[in-house]
């Protein structure tokens, strides 16, 4: 009898833990959807901010986030994929390889605000990019790198040895095998990883805080050396720094909703690619 009660109480406890975790997600989604949806109009999405951001839309923030994420992608994808190719196809099990892997894991653990500091010191100051799209994009690129490397390596590991050997047997060089056989086969997995890394970068605030983001612009950036508005930063400003915080709360909710939709949409695309790919193999 005592054992039965113990079992029931224990099971109830861990079930409660699971429910609590789920309810955290539930509360977040419900609150933001319920209160954000009312203001999410086409004017809000495609309009420019008006009257000190108390009215109008957030189009420049959407464009800014898009641009900075593109720069992040341009900077981090080639380096990340190449690094994963080295680890999976060339590197032996030496102390150097272990050092590289340890470094990658630790890069993933470096706080995002520290990437921001590094971005200021290196890109903004030493490389004289100023506070700009480019400096922010490269800072986010560095932050995304470990995620892209890890995901690409996972994808490369799933490529069957047989087709690599087949390619080598046909006289292809190692590079040709990588470019024409290994990468195409691993591509869905690599793309999934890249999208997830970029969605994380698009939602980040700390690395762009002092490297190029700007709270209010009435024009769109025209070069990579311009400052830019970004969705996550916009939400931060609207909820903490605005002169009429209560008044702009509906706009803040809609910005939060838009940011969530963007991030979840990217995640869904990634999961879709992964699911399709799993069915094929």
């Amino acid at each position: 009898m005592k054992k039965r009660i113990q079992f029931a109480v224990g099971l109830a406890f861990i079930l409660l833990c699971t429910m609590l975790s789920l309810s955290a997600l539930g509360v977040i989604l419900f609150d933001i959807f319920a209160k954000g949806i009312t203001h999410l109009t086409t004017e809000f999405i495609f309009g420019f901010p008006k009257n000190g951001m108390t009215e109008g839309g957030i189009f420049p923030a959407i464009i800014g986030t898009t641009f900075v994420t593109l720069i992040t992608a341009i900077f981090s994808i080639p380096l990340g994929v190449a690094s994963a190719v080295y680890l999976n196809e060339y590197a032996g099990n030496t102390w150097l390889t272990r050092l590289i892997r340890t470094s990658i894991r630790n890069l993933a653990g470096v706080p995002s605000i520290v990437y921001g500091l590094f971005g200021v010191a290196l890109f903004v100051q030493a490389f004289q990019m100023g506070t700009s799209l480019l400096a922010s994009g490269m800072t986010l690129g560095l932050m995304s790198l470990p995620y892209i490397i890890t995901a690409t390596e996972e994808a490369l590991k799933t490529v069957p040895k047989g087709i690599k050997e087949g390619s080598t047997a046909l006289g292809a060089t190692k590079f040709e095998t990588i470019l024409l056989v290994i990468l195409p086969v691993a591509l869905p997995g690599i793309i999934t990883g890249i999208i997830l890394a970029l969605s994380r970068a698009a939602g980040e605030t700390a690395p762009i805080l002092f490297t190029g983001v700007f709270f209010y612009q009435r024009y769109l950036p025209t070069s990579v050396f311009d400052e830019f508005m970004a969705l996550p930063y916009h939400l931060f400003i609207l909820s903490t720094q605005h002169h009429d915080i209560e008044g702009v709360r509906p706009l803040a909710y809609s910005t939060a909703l838009l940011l969530l939709i963007l991030v979840f949409a990217l995640n869904l695309v990634a999961f879709y690619i992964r699911a399709r790919y799993r069915q094929q193999t």
Partner: protein
């Protein structure tokens, strides 16, 4: 260029790219260290590490004591872990050992969704939802305090703790559990006495990685903890952790001043703390994989 030359050139390219992670990690540390060290031309090391007064923008006598910032960081981290560890490990145990496949197929993507939510969004809810709720519940004037930040951080640490713990619990060999059942233990006794102890190193690694994320988290604590750079008296005090201090002040400080460099010194401390935690987690997991 011939095929063979191309092969050689790209071998070199891949190798350099492979080494990049090491260079970047070293580069970050060097850059922080160089800039951080410059702070100590004007600030005494003793004051920096032992004084609880952080008022770098005071006009007459700026003071750079990080003690209350560090205590703020530690307080919200411990509180967050106090909340997240039991819930996270409990949920992981349920998912790995008890959940039917159907439930698992819903809960796991939901946990991944929770991990994908930007921290600024969670911080926003700390202000508009959790803050007023806590203020009402405990009768405080505003709910922007250490407890608020800790709850948000717990939510952010949960996905890490749950998914890595679940993998660890799942990896326990079936024969261990079968032996326990054979001795007459039920599923709960087996979980507590056999499965959890055998996966302890994996669970500890999960907790460490969750903690690494919590200590370095910036936006949520910046928005929800009230930003008072003073020694906290209770969990209802406003605090200003290390990360939030950098985030608030870096945007306003003129470049290349003692205040600017002191923020890099805070960066060095954060970097070393997270590096230490990650290396420790690494050690624990590598021991765990060898078993």
């Amino acid at each position: 260029m011939t095929r063979v030359q191309l092969n050689y050139v790209f071998k070199l390219f891949f190798r350099l790219a492979g080494y990049s992670a090491v260079f970047i990690l070293l580069g970050i540390f060097a850059m922080l260290l160089i800039n951080g060290a410059l702070a100590f031309r004007d600030i005494s090391l003793g004051e920096f590490f032992t004084s609880p007064i952080w008022s770098p923008s005071a006009f007459e006598q700026p003071q750079y004591g990080i003690l209350s910032l560090v205590v703020g960081s530690i307080l919200i981290t411990l509180l967050a872990m106090l909340i997240a560890v039991p819930i996270g490990v409990g949920a992981a145990a349920y998912l790995a050992e008890f959940a039917p496949k159907r439930v698992e197929n819903i809960v796991k993507p939901a946990i991944e969704m929770l991990a994908a939510i930007p921290s600024v969004t969670i911080g926003f809810l700390g202000i508009v939802l959790l803050g007023p709720f806590l203020a009402q519940l405990f009768g405080t004037t505003n709910g922007l305090n250490a407890l608020n930040g800790a709850i948000l951080l717990a939510v952010m640490a949960l996905p890490t703790i749950i998914s890595i713990s679940e993998d660890a619990i799942f990896a326990v060999p079936k024969s261990y559990k079968e032996a326990s059942y054979a001795l007459g233990a039920n599923k709960w006794e087996t979980l507590v006495n056999v499965t959890l102890p055998s996966s302890a190193s994996g669970i500890i690694a999960a907790i460490m990685l969750g903690m690494g994320r919590v200590i370095g988290e910036t936006m949520a604590v910046l928005m929800a903890t009230g930003n008072a750079a003073a020694m906290p008296e209770s969990i209802f005090s406003s605090v200003q952790p290390l990360t939030a201090t950098i985030a608030i002040e870096m945007g306003e400080v003129p470049y290349n001043t003692p205040h600017y460099y002191s923020l890099f010194a805070l960066g060095v401390i954060l970097f070393l703390i997270t590096l230490g935690i990650n290396l420790l987690a690494d050690r624990i997991t590598s021991g765990f994989q060898m078993k």
